[in-house]
């Protein structure tokens, strides 16, 4: 199926099989390997991206469902060489050990702060319930999210991510098969 999807401010037009998961499309077709796969059960949250401004597990969304929609990945949140405030807070608070869960943690933290700009510790933990850290570095992750909340003005969510001028990349089909 032909899809048109905006990822991190760039519009892509591609042919995909209906069974292609969004996470596989992002990683294997677009090379957005910042978004990682940490499990096979939709539990870990490492593949979390934003779809039209709301966090989703990209292993539980089909690429065709992103047609005509806007995706933001961990690779699209820094601006002009400046880390996003949540990225900066993870850096400052040593909120990662192996770093594998970090892309999902950060994308979910940004979503949480868009809904609740000043969460207490319990609200941060509840808001990150869908993201697992196997290093069990939760203490510093929670600290980082609260630190970021202090440093960010409210409303860092969908509006802050909207990109007005989009480039267009028209790509040749890579697979002939698949339903239409």
């Amino acid at each position: 199926m032909r899809i048109s999807v905006t990822v991190d401010g760039v519009e892509y037009r591609d042919d995909v099989e209906p069974r292609t998961l969004l996470v596989h499309y992002l990683r294997e077709r677009l090379g957005k390997t910042g978004t990682v796969v940490g499990c096979d059960t939709s539990n870990c949250g490492a593949c979390t991206v934003h779809l039209d401004g709301h966090s989703v597990k990209s292993c539980a969304v089909l690429a065709v469902q992103a047609n005509d929609r806007e995706v933001t990945t961990i690779e699209g949140i820094a601006r002009d060489g400046q880390l996003h405030p949540v990225q900066e807070a993870f850096h400052q608070n040593h909120a990662l050990q192996c770093g594998f869960c970090t892309p999902g943690m950060i994308m979910q933290a940004i979503d949480l702060l868009a809904d609740n700009p000043d969460p207490d510790e319990d609200e941060v933990r509840h808001g990150l319930e869908g993201n697992l850290c196997r290093c069990t570095g939760y203490q510093n992750i929670v600290r980082a999210v609260r630190d970021a909340a202090q440093k960010m003005s409210p409303g860092s969510g969908p509006e802050a991510e909207r990109v007005d001028e989009t480039a267009v990349v028209d790509r040749a089909p890579m697979h002939a098969g698949g339903g239409e």
């Binding site: 209906p18 069974r19 096979d40 539990n43 949250g45 989703v56 292993c59 065709v64």
Partner: protein, 284 residues
């Protein structure tokens, strides 16, 4: 893993969706938010030849005030239900139960109707729907029909929906001013309920005037704890009365034994959680 190949259609009206399901035959599968289906497709535990994606059916989203009841579109997401002011005011039990479903990412995609039609006995919205006497509006090739929750849930992952029928709306009678609580017992983050209890009560002049109690994962379908309801009504809203009524929580239930808990332990949980849920609902 990668799902097996399937054909995909994304209808924009209920009629188109029903026709697509009928044309697809027994190997066609309707997909609402996909938060249960896509993981199952990925593990190839389901191998439909056709997926009918309902996410374009905008006519099935949102909550409407129908006078004595709310009409909730089946494709309304958990995230929307949680925040809906009508649901909050007139069916607060649904908000509270929805808060406990999976995690925020899943609640952004997953839908109220999808959860009910999936009919996982550990799903958190079935017992509240049963306790609230919800009515399921189903659309098929021959028009629409209404099925009360008590007859909608038939067995494990099985509802009264025919293969070419869709759940389009859920009518939820308003229980304005009632206290409510959903008490969920599970072991780890984002896990399903081992047992959970949905309670809604109306207290008038210190007495329990009405009570609804539904149990999650105490059998192949959600269970209405009628014994507890009978024992509560007319009693003073005291700890003694609630404790006494809660002892009847597992009456008539047929709880499973699995790796999480055996049937006897589940019955114990039902009694303990019922006491907690009703106590919280009375003071809510």
């Amino acid at each position: 893993m990668i799902p097996a190949a399937f054909d995909y259609v994304a209808p924009t009206t209920v009629d188109e969706a029903v026709r697509a399901l009928a044309a697809g035959g027994e190997d066609a599968k309707a997909m609402a938010g996909g938060q249960s289906l896509i993981p199952v497709l990925r593990m190839r535990l389901a191998v439909p030849t056709l997926v009918v994606d309902l996410s374009g059916l905008t006519e099935l989203t949102g909550v409407h005030d129908d006078g004595d009841s709310l009409r909730i579109g089946a494709m309304t997401t958990h995230y929307e239900v949680q925040r809906d002011p009508l649901v909050r005011e007139h069916a607060r039990l649904l908000c509270l139960a929805t808060d406990t479903v999976a995690d925020p990412q899943v609640r952004h995609r997953g839908t109220f109707g999808g959860s009910l039609a999936h009919a996982d006995p550990a799903g958190d919205l079935l017992a509240p729907a049963l306790a609230l006497d919800a009515v399921m509006v189903c659309a098929g090739p021959n028009g629409t029909r209404e099925v009360p929750a008590a007859r909608f849930f038939v067995d494990y992952f099985t509802t009264a929906l025919a293969p070419d029928e869709l759940l389009t709306h859920v009518k939820v009678p308003k229980l304005t001013g009632w206290g409510a609580h959903y008490e969920k017992f599970n072991r780890v983050a984002q896990a399903w309920s081992i047992v959970a209890v949905a309670a809604a009560v109306r207290v008038s002049e210190g007495k329990i005037a009405d009570a609804r109690v539904g149990l999650t994962n105490m059998g192949p379908t959600p269970v209405r704890a009628r014994g507890v309801e009978e024992a509560l009504v007319g009693q003073p809203a005291t700890a003694e009365a609630i404790t006494s009524a809660a002892t009847r929580a597992a009456e008539g239930a047929d709880p499973p034994s699995d790796g999480n808990a055996d049937a006897e332990y589940r019955s114990h949980l039902a009694r303990v959680l019922t006491e907690r849920a009703v106590t919280a609902a009375v003071s809510a």
